[in-house]
């Protein structure tokens, strides 16, 4: 188990090293000449307007909630896709493949029902204009 996760550790270490190295290098090589303009928070290149702590529109929340719901839908598709060969065979797989004449549409059918029900929700969202910003 320790061995299998070594690449993950390498990736984490490399990412952390990169982040620290970029900050450290720019700090070591810069010559600080601060001006009031340079000290302002960067906001897409335009002068910042007002405070960052203002009330945000409920539209952002709508987008976030719809994102979660369709995210969960995808979560159910991952195990389905990984298990699809077994699900589309009426008998257990023989050497990783389905015996002739035993292919079933059980796996396809159950996901189609799942998606059809959620498609109703998607059409409802679309018709109600919840995906439109204004």
């Amino acid at each position: 188990m320790e061995r299998t996760y070594f690449p993950v550790l390498l990736l984490l270490g490399f990412a952390a090293f990169n982040a620290v190295a970029m900050l450290a290098l720019s700090h070591l090589t810069m010559r600080p000449r601060p001006t009031p303009v340079k000290q302002t928070p960067y906001e897409s290149g335009i002068p910042p307007l007002g405070d960052a702590r203002e009330r945000f529109s409920v539209k952002f929340y709508m987008v976030a909630v719809l994102f979660i719901i369709f995210d969960i839908e995808t979560v159910f598709m991952i195990p389905w896709g990984a298990h699809y060969r077994e699900l589309s065979c009426a008998v257990p797989l023989v050497a990783g493949s389905c015996p002739a004449g035993q292919v079933s549409f059980f796996g396809l059918g159950e996901m189609l029902v799942f998606i059809a029900i959620l498609l109703v929700g998607f059409i409802y969202v679309w018709k109600k204009g919840a995906l439109q910003w204004d």
Binding site: A64, L66, F76, L87, Y124
Partner: protein, 182 residues
């Protein structure tokens, strides 16, 4: 989880457990809701690491994707919607009695956990030692979840889509009404 936990395994199990508990304590004691939410992300990540160590790799990945990703986004959006202002201006709504009540509920839950861990678990709810690791080795990390989900629990899986549909309709009805009222 190996049959006999190695020192490496035990060390990391307690490490992630302690990180999760410490972050949870910091999470509930923060004044600024945004930094509390960030500590909650740390709790979620530690829990994901514990899931992976218990040979529930798929659940661990989903924990990061759904909880640390999607659910935290919604928490942060709620904080932005409420616009609680600067943390220093916030009056602490949690009075002494609320703190005592929360502490009592917490102690109750800890006591329940201890009883569960120390007491004997009924046979249908226990797995033989190393069972999950054997399954993952034999079938991969996803198949042990996918097999029962799409056979024995097929009805529950299909009902999930109805629950998600209800959530979609609820979000649109509540969200659109408020947006139109402006």
């Amino acid at each position: 989880m190996p049959d006999v936990p190695s020192l490496f395994y035990t060390f990391h199990f307690y490490l992630f457990g302690l990180v999760a508990m410490a972050s949870a304590v910091v999470f509930v004691t923060r004044r600024s809701p945004v930094s509390a939410a960030m500590w909650l992300v740390v709790v979620m990540f530690s829990l994901a690491a514990l899931y992976v160590m218990l040979d529930a790799q798929f659940i661990g990945v989903i924990q990061v994707l759904v909880y640390a990703g999607a659910i935290m986004v919604v928490f942060l959006f709620v904080i932005m919607l409420l616009n609680l202002g600067h943390p220093a201006e916030l009056a602490d709504a949690r009075g002494l009695w609320w703190k005592l009540a929360a502490g009592a509920v917490g102690l109750g839950l800890v006591a329940e956990l201890f009883t569960l861990v120390r007491g004997a678990t009924a046979a249908p709810y226990t797995l033989p030692a190393g069972y999950a690791a054997q399954q993952v080795a034999a079938e991969g990390a996803i198949a042990p979840v996918a097999g029962p989900l799409f056979h024995e629990y097929l009805l529950a899986f299909e009902v999930t889509s109805v629950v998600l549909l209800a959530a979609i309709v609820g979000a649109v009805v509540l969200g659109k009404r408020r947006a139109d009222a402006r």
